[in-house]
């Protein structure tokens, strides 16, 4: 299946979901890999836009970052969800749900007889 460009504005949501699913801290590259793996390569994320998004979310208090050492022995910046981030995620979940349902209703063939 060909790649789909990430819908503008949902990058944050993807990152938040990824971090929730991971349960623990991830660094930027790992987040990217995780999305790639989870969507089986479907979603194309511009690598360059990931880091500004991470920094923005960190500034807004949705993520907390600490410097640690990667399994390969390199210094890496690890991100984790904060409580506020979790609240935000819940909000965005709901919004995403409504968005999807709304889109479904457009031009839907009348299924009930």
């Amino acid at each position: 299946m060909s790649q789909i460009d990430v819908v503008q504005g949902t990058l944050d949501y993807l990152v938040l979901r990824t971090l929730r699913g991971a349960g623990g801290p991830l660094h930027g590259f790992e987040i990217l890999e995780s999305i790639d793996a989870a969507t089986q390569g479907t979603l194309a994320i511009e690598e360059g836009s990931l880091y500004p998004a991470l920094h923005r979310m960190e500034k807004r208090g949705w993520l907390k970052a600490t410097w640690g050492v990667s399994p390969k022995g390199r210094r890496a910046k690890y991100y984790v969800l904060t409580a506020r981030g979790r609240t935000e995620l819940a909000l965005q979940d709901e919004r995403w749900e409504r968005y999807v349902q709304a889109v479904e209703r457009i031009g839907a063939v009348a299924e009930e007889a």
Binding site: S49, Y51, P52, R56, K59, R74, A76, K77
Partner: protein, 884 residues
């Protein structure tokens, strides 16, 4: 880190720390991004790429690392990824569109705001256009502050007139450095009747010195000295020649010579800046223009770059020293220098204009208050909308921006309307400018770019001033849930609205009191006994050209002929000839002496002492009443005799009669004998505060010393006589333009033109202020009635009568008005004293003035309460209770 202070703490230390922190952040960011690349490279190598290929691919996939770095930096700083300032135009457009939509949805409110702003800004712009043209606008020359006026001065620095010979010497000595100019009135014989044209004769280098180019045509060429060519002023070209586009090359008949028009000066240009000029002609080498000698030349020079005034004075002094008067002689010894706009320092015109500016400024505040209240009242109705917007994530700043944007758009629309109003006002003002204001006007009153900018700035201030507070208050209200808390926020809003309306009423009282004081002063001024019978006089003034009337005797012959003819006209009782412009307020001239009696101390010098040259019989014609002594006789002329008015007599000789006594006007001059004392005579108009005395000198029998003289006629029907005089003058001297022709009443009315003008302005502003304040009171009461419908309904259900309900509203209205009045009157008591110098015989704090202002406000307020009061009784208890 411990609490101990680090070395380098304090301002420098914190800068260093910040810089260190920034460096740290940079390094960490770099490390993070590099880490990503390294991971990517590892993956690629695992899949078989070579290290260099892997690196290239990794970098390619990542994109421009510089851009990412930059975006991260911004994200760190502001929590936004996109550069904020690049978003501003987009944001603004969005706000603008939203604001326009909201405005369209409430047309009534929008119109109210636009009209209010238009009135307030329009009035201010009109006043500014006048003030700018009179006081503020830079002179219409290039770098006007490098231009100076040079006058020949005596040893004490006072001005010395040059005679013709000296004039020529000075012109030769100073050459092309200096611009010479002199007033030059000529007769224009183009039309059916000869008219006067006021020209300025100038040296041919004048446009180079001033740095201005004509709007049409060209300037004078150096070889055109004394040529019969003329440059016209813009107003003259418009009014007398219909702004003919083909004017260059056409001719005019001036002084019976054919003069070619070679150009028109730009609009707004005026030289000299004081007094309006119809056109400019080149001065000849013989100091003549159109064959007529130009007397009293003045000089203007431009300071060369890098020179200051004193250096220039020295230079000029060096040049004229050889021809200056030797010690002891009567001529000039050097030059005095002053700025070209020295006349703008005049106190009277400044005070009057600042007063009007103050009045219109208060009007502006009232206007802003109304806009503020309009927004508040409307905002309270939109409370639910604002709450929802807040819940959907709009930040408070966003809401503030939005409401502010709305108000600004409305205010700017009001500003555009204001400009149209200001143009209308300008045309009216130009038509009714008093002579005194016209005198100081530089150029014309225009809506130029300066005035336009003023209007826009004023609109912006109105928008921000009227919108900011409601915006902040309403956006805060939006954050509270609409429930018990909302009652409190409503109460807060109401308190603010009430305070604003009270403020408006206070300001309105102040303006009204000022207008009232001016009105009282004007009324008193118009009823002053001026000491002669203005309602039985008519006068004809002519300016006699040098060539045809070169001496005293020839002028006398002409006027005597006219006098005899005038006495034969029907209704005329007597006629007399007097030099000068004839009737007060132009009847005399000013000198500044210190009158004294020899052997005693001089009395306090009046600032200005009007004096007139009068023939025997003048007093009788004018109807001046003799207090003691007698009128002049023919032989009084060369005997140093004088007639004074009773105030001067009492000041000099408090306990004895003045007749027969001697007085001295200036140190070293001959003494004058008083032969007659007249009752209080106001030669220069009814306001005698700075010119409390009058002095009359006898006129040379058979001679008129000046080229301007008048025929003053005593008649039972002045209006008819004026017409007859015109016919008679045209018959006796057909080639002479009639300079002035008026009745005594017309002259008296003109004498108080200036106070009348400023009174009209202040009255207009106070009317507007009262209207706006009434609208403010009405608005707040109407809103209160709307809000408290439930309460009113309950009260009605519980048995309150219509009257009770109305009284409830009235009580609130009167409370607001009463508080406003009290504050306003207190403010007037504190500040009104500043107006004292502008008032005649009136104190600003007279009870009549304050009472009138209070009554006006009270009555208007009552009217404003009327409709809300009536509406209050229309509240149906049943339908209100139903909505529970």
């Amino acid at each position: 880190m411990s609490g101990a202070r680090q070395p380098g703490a304090g301002r420098v230390g914190s800068v260093r720390r910040r810089w260190r922190r920034r460096r740290e952040r940079e390094l960490l960011l770099e490390a993070e991004l590099q880490h990503h690349l390294e991971e990517r490279i590892d993956r690629l190598i695992e899949h078989g790429a070579t290290p260099s290929a892997a690196r290239r691919e990794a970098e390619r996939r990542f994109g421009s690392i510089a851009r990412v770095r930059h975006a991260c930096r911004i994200a760190q700083r502001r929590g936004e990824v996109e550069v904020a300032w690049r978003r501003i135009p987009q944001q603004l457009l969005h706000e603008l569109r939203f604001a326009l939509r909201t405005i369209r949805d409430s047309p009534g409110f929008s119109l109210a705001v636009i009209v209010t702003v238009a009135l307030g800004v329009g009035a201010n712009t009109a006043v500014y256009s006048v003030t700018d043209a009179v006081l503020l606008r830079p002179l219409p020359y290039e770098e006007p502050n490098r231009l100076v006026e040079i006058t020949p001065a005596g040893p004490d620095g006072s001005h010395v007139w040059l005679d013709e010979r000296a004039q020529r010497e000075w012109v030769d000595a100073l050459g092309d450095e200096v611009l010479w100019h002199g007033r030059h009135a000529v007769t224009r014989t183009d039309g059916a009747f000869p008219t006067q044209m006021t020209l300025e004769a100038v040296s041919t280098n004048w446009l180079d010195v001033l740095g201005v180019q004509p709007a049409l045509g060209r300037g004078f060429a150096p070889d055109e000295r004394g040529a019969d060519v003329v440059l016209l002023s813009h107003p003259f070209w418009r009014s007398e020649l219909g702004a003919d586009a083909e004017i260059v090359g056409r001719t005019l008949r001036l002084q019976d010579r054919v003069v070619t028009v070679i150009g028109v000066m730009p609009r707004g240009f005026d030289f000299p800046a004081i007094m309006p000029t119809d056109g400019w002609m080149p001065l000849g080498a013989d100091l003549r223009a159109i064959g007529k000698a130009v007397l009293h030349l003045d000089m203007v020079a431009r300071l060369p770059a890098g020179t200051d005034v004193s250096a220039h004075v020295d230079r000029v002094n060096a040049r004229v020293e050889p021809i200056a008067a030797p010690d002891g002689a009567d001529g000039p010894v050097g030059v005095a220098v002053r700025a070209l706009d020295y006349f703008r320092a005049n106190r009277d015109i400044r005070s009057a204009l600042w007063m009007v500016t103050g009045g219109v400024g208060l009007l502006f505040l009232i206007m802003m208050a109304n806009v503020l209240n309009l927004q508040l009242v409307r905002g309270l109705r939109r409370r639910s909308e604002l709450v929802v917007r807040r819940a959907l994530g709009a930040s408070r700043a966003r809401l503030v921006r939005h409401i502010l944007a709305e108000t600004l758009v409305l205010a700017l629309a009001g500003g555009a309307a204001a400009l149209m109003l200001a143009e209308v006002a300008r045309q009216m003002l130009v038509g009714m400018l008093p002579h005194e204001v016209e005198f100081f006007l530089v150029g014309e009153i225009l809506i130029d770019h300066r005035v336009f900018l003023f209007a826009m700035l004023a609109s912006l201030i109105a928008g921000v001033g009227g919108g900011l507070l409601p915006a902040m208050r309403l956006s805060a209200a939006g954050s509270r849930p609409a429930s018990p808390g909302s009652a409190r926020s409503t109460a807060d809003g109401r308190r603010l609205s009430s305070a604003v309306v009270v403020g408006e009423v206070a300001l309105a009282i102040v303006i009204l009191a000022a207008a009232g004081a001016l009105a009282l002063s004007f009324a008193r001024l118009s009823h002053v006994d001026v000491g002669y019978d203005a309602d039985r006089l008519a006068s004809l003034t002519l300016s006699l050209p040098e060539e045809e009337y070169p001496d005293d005797a020839s002028r006398w012959t002409l006027f005597e002929e006219m006098r005899v003819a005038a006495e034969r006209l029907p209704g005329v009782e007597a006629a007399v000839v007097a030099p000068g412009a004839g009737l007060p307020p132009d009847a005399g001239f000013y000198i500044s002496p210190t009158p004294r009696v020899l052997g005693r101390d001089p009395i306090p010098a009046p600032e200005l002492l009007p004096y007139a040259l009068v023939p025997p019989g003048y007093l009788e014609v004018l109807g001046v009443r003799l207090h003691s002594g007698r009128d002049f006789l023919r032989e009084d002329f060369d005997m140093n005799r004088v007639i004074i008015d009773v105030d001067l007599a009492r000041a000099l000789w408090p306990d004895t009669t003045a007749v027969g006594r001697e007085l001295q006007l200036r140190e070293g001059e001959d003494c004058l004998t008083v032969v007659g004392v007249v009752e209080d005579l106001r030669l220069m108009g009814p306001d005698d505060r700075r010119r409390p005395y009058a002095l009359l000198h006898p006129l040379t029998p058979g001679g008129i010393p000046w080229s301007v003289a008048s025929l003053v006629v005593r008649t039972a029907a002045p209006a008819d006589t004026v017409r007859a005089l015109r016919e008679m003058a045209r018959g006796v001297a057909p080639g002479l333009p009639i300079w002035k022709l008026k009745t005594g009443d017309q002259a008296s009315a003109e004498a108080i033109d200036e106070p009348r003008f400023f009174l009209l302005l202040m009255a207009a502003f106070s009317g507007l202020a009262l209207g706006l304040a009434a609208v403010g009171v009405f608005g707040i009461l109407a809103a209160a009635v709307r809000e408290r419908r439930r309460e009113l309904g309950v009260r009605a259900a519980l048995g309150a009568t219509a009257l009770d309900l109305r009284l409830a509203v009235l009580r609130r209205g009167l409370a607001l008005t009463g508080t406003g009045m009290a504050i306003g009157l207190a403010a007037w008591l504190a500040l009104g004293g500043r107006l004292a110098s502008l008032l005649y015989g009136t104190s600003p704090h007279e009870s009549r003035v304050m009472a009138a202002a209070a009554v006006a406000v009270a009555v208007t307020s009552l009217l404003a309460c009327w409709i809300p009061a009536v509406r209050a009784t229309r509240v149906h208890p049943a339908e209100v209770l139903r909505t529970e």
